[in-house]
Each structure stands twice: as C-alpha cells, then as structure tokens.
C-alpha cells in the first residue's frame, strides 16, 4: 500500500507544474461567462470538463519524460503502478470536482436556485460521473499512451456530459433540482464499480506491455 501512496505522490509531483495553467483557465472561464446570468453554473460545468481531462495529463508528463524507465527502476509492482495512477488521477479529478461543488454552493447562495442538499447531491452525482469517465479513459491511456489516446479520451468527458444533458433535456444544472436524494449515491457506487473493473483491465494491459 505504501508503494501505491508513494506512486500517487509522485504522480502529483508530475502534475504539479500544470496547476497554474489550469487555474488560469478556470479564471478565464469565469471571465468569459461573466456576462451571463448563469456565469458560475456555466463555469462549474466547464470545470467538470476539466475534471474529466486532467487525469490524462498524468500520462502526458510520463510520456514526455519517458518516465516508464523510472518506474522500471523503482521497487514497485506493475499492479501498484496502475492502482497508484488511478489513485493519483482520482485525487486530482476530485479536487476539480470540489471546486465545481464550491462554485455551485456559491451560486446557490447567490441565486437560491439550489439548496445545500441539492449541492451535496450534485457533488455525489458529479463524482460518480467523473469515476465513470476515468474508468473509460484509463485503459486506453495505459494501452496507447497519452499522445495516441488523447483525442479519444478527451472526447469522453464531453460525451458523458452530453449524455447527462440528453437524459435531462432541460439542461444539466437545472436537472439537479429534480433529483432525489439517492441518485448521487447510485452514481458514486456505479462509478466505483466501473473503476474496479477498469483497474482490472488496465492492470492486464500494463502487465502485458513491454517497454
């Protein structure tokens, strides 16, 4: 377990140099949507897109510096590399979702569109959606690497969010006010099951991969 934590920590250090870039991007969203009455909600939606994209950047840093050679020198099993990468990706993505939830909370206070209960429910829902996105992306990233897989995997967040929108045709954020209290939990559990299957698939892919 300590190797998994160490690997996730290493992933965070690999991702860290990108922090400023993505924070600026988020501020740009706020600026762009400033004229809209739903500026914060739109920004939260855009941030959710980022949450789906950011874990992929762990693979980008790895590809750029050929860090697979570092992993092969370290005392860590390939399975631990995979679990560590999921853990690191989840921490980064959940950080982003937390920002989304905070934006929604601010929005709910400003506009009274959502109750706090709905924000918590929405956070659970977004977390579940994020887990599903990550579960779909990571096996491709492990198999193909960031450069080959990025276009496809970056489309996934958009497709999943489009799917959510299609379910509730009135729009994603408006739909949240109609959700019952258990839907968030259902999404989180579904996401976790998808992640478990995805970890299994990625482990098989990574163990079979020759560097």
């Amino acid at each position: 377990m300590s190797s998994v934590i160490s690997f996730a920590k290493m992933d965070w250090l690999t991702f860290k140099p990108n922090r400023k870039y993505f924070t600026l991007l988020l501020l740009q969203f706020l600026f762009i949507f400033a004229a809209n009455v739903q500026a914060i909600s739109l920004c939260a939606l855009a941030n959710m897109m980022l949450a789906g994209m950011l874990p992929g950047y762990l693979f980008a840093g790895e590809d750029k510096s050929k860090m697979d050679r570092l992993y092969s020198a370290l005392p860590i099993h390939k399975k631990e590399v995979v679990i560590g990468r999921y853990f690191g990706g989840a921490v980064i993505g959940l950080g982003c979702i937390l920002v989304t939830a905070l934006l929604l909370a601010v929005d709910s206070m400003a506009t009274s569109d959502f109750s706090l209960q709905e924000v918590v429910n929405g956070f659970s829902l977004l977390t579940g959606i994020f887990f599903i996105m990550m579960a779909l992306q990571f096996p491709f990233l492990f198999q193909l690497g960031f450069i080959k897989a990025q276009n496809f995997t970056m489309l996934l967040p958009a497709m999943v969010l489009l799917w959510v929108n299609l379910i509730w045709r009135n729009g994603y954020f408006q739909a949240m006010s109609h959700l019952n209290n258990t839907i968030g939990a259902v999404f989180v559990v579904s996401g976790l099951i998808c992640l478990a299957v995805s970890i299994k698939v990625s482990t098989v892919i990574y163990q079979a991969k020759e560097q």
Binding site: T14, S65, M67, A73, P75, Q211
Partner: protein, 286 residues
C-alpha cells in the same frame, strides 16, 4: 565469491532482432563492462534484467533471487542509470527526492544531499535545465542514496565530455572500493572500461562473443605491425582485420599465433581494436 548478477541462456525474439543465449555472471565487488556495437542487444539485455521486457527463455538472478518473482525486493538493492534522464523534466533535485525517496526502505536523505553537494548539483534547478552530465549525476545520486548493492548503467557516458566521463569513472571506482558493491556498465566507449572494468561481456548481433576477465580478453590478442613486404601469405591468413597501405600493414592476431609473427613488431591491443576486428567478422569463433 558471491555472484551478484547471473544471466543464464537468456533469449528474446523480436520481429527483426534475436537475442540468443546470453550468459554471464558478475561477482560481488567488481565492475563488468558490457560492450558491443550499437544495436547489438545491450539495452535489450538490461531491459530484460529490469523486467521491462519479458524473456522468452533463460534465467536471471540478482543477488541469488529471481529477477521476475522477487522483482520488488531486488530493486530495493538495485541502482539504475540510463543514457538519458528518466525524471519529470519539471522537477528539481528536491522534488526528485520527494518523488523517489518514498519507495526505498533505506533511503538516506543526508547521503542524497551530500552527493548533490559533491556533484555540484543545484537543488532548485529544473531537470530540463541541467546539462547532460548533471542529469546523469542526478540519476547516480538517487542510485547511491538507497544503499544499492548493484549498479546497472546503460550507456551513461554517451554524449558526455571527457571530464564528465572521468568524474563518473572516479565515482564508480569509489563505489566498489569496499568490495561490497558491483557495477554492470554498458557502453560502446570502451576506453572508459580499459580504466576501471575487471570483467568484460561482449555481445554482437544478439550473440555472445566473450564473457570473462578483461585482462584475459586483451591478452588473447596482439597488434601486429610491419613494412609493405614483410608479411607472407601464410601470415596474412592468420591476421584478423588486416589493413594494408603503401607504407606497411597492421592487424590483429591471436596471441596463440604469436610465434608465427616473431619477425614482426607485436604490441598490446585495446578493447576498441578487438571490438572493431570482431565486428568485421574475423573472430566469431572466439
């Protein structure tokens, strides 16, 4: 004498390359030079030792343990340096320690900082801003900060200037001086090995040419030099890599044939000259 690294009958086939029946062993307290021309299979062998590739057949034991089943334990005692750095380019030396140190039971932060000072490595400079020699030293500092018993170096001197190469050789000589550590040093710059290697393993086109003592390899050959008309046709047949010019000739002979060349000047050879001669096809039977 403990064997630190033992490779037996190692085989690996790719679509265009075949590593065929590689065997060698490295005892504790010595440096082995792993030589061969570009594309001969040195890096493939090292990748197999590190489990980056799956072997088709053969065995690899590191400090008596199987390289596959005991991989994680073995790597606690293994230090690795590649030809180019393997750290995230945006890290500095402090972040390298944060990223790597957590994986090792015996990570010694004091030793790491001591090595950074010894190698004159700045702690705040990004890896991508370091020179090639500095990047190599940073990998070496990591490898030496967790009490690695065996160091595996894959072409660490390629692209380095002579001063940086000499520094590395001094560090390696220090490293094995206590008799408890060993080094496998892959390179095609054989002059580095003349200075420090005790053993040589020589492969070419994926096949073993020689594995044994460096001195024995050098003693096996002599350089023969003579004027334009001093050589007989019988002697010509025994010369490996004969080069003739208007002023005379030179070539390599096996030391066992030296009595046939008593009328000519015989000199010691370099590993480089042996490698070139073998590459030209003169001594595959060695």
């Amino acid at each position: 004498m403990n064997t630190f690294l033992e490779v037996n009958n190692l085989c690996k086939t790719f679509s265009r390359f075949h590593l065929d029946d590689i065997s060698f062993s490295l005892p504790q307290g010595y440096i082995m030079g792993f030589i061969g021309p570009n594309g001969s299979g040195k890096t493939t062998t090292i990748k197999l030792i590190l489990n980056m590739l799956r072997r088709d057949s053969g065995e690899i034991h590191v400090m008596g343990r199987d390289a596959v089943s005991d991989e994680k334990e073995i790597k606690q005692d293994l230090g690795v340096v590649f030809d180019t750095h393997f750290f995230c380019e945006e890290w500095n030396a402090r972040e390298v320690e944060k990223a790597v140190g957590g994986f090792y039971r015996n990570w010694d932060s004091t030793q790491y900082n001591r090595l950074l000072s010894r190698f004159h490595l700045p702690k705040d400079k990004k890896v991508k801003a370091l020179s090639r020699g500095m990047q190599m030293k940073l990998m070496l500092a990591c490898a030496l900060s967790h009490d690695a018993k065996l160091l595996i170096l894959d072409e660490p001197t390629s692209g380095l200037d002579p001063i940086a190469r000499d520094e590395l050789l001094t560090i390696l000589a220090d490293y094995i001086s206590d008799g408890k550590h060993s080094v496998l040093f892959s390179t095609h710059i054989t002059s580095d090995l003349e200075k420090i290697a005790d053993y040589i393993t020589f492969i070419q086109n994926g096949k073993m040419i020689y594995s044994g003592s460096k001195d024995e390899l050098i003693d096996d050959f002599r350089r023969v030099i003579g004027g334009p008309k001093e050589i007989t046709s019988l002697q010509k047949e025994k010369i490996i890599d004969l080069r003739e010019s208007s002023t005379g000739f030179e070539g390599l002979i096996k030391t066992s044939d030296a009595q046939d060349f008593q009328n000519l000047q015989l000199e010691p050879v370099t590993i480089d000259a042996i490698m070139v001669a073998v590459n030209k096809g003169g001594a595959e039977d060695e």
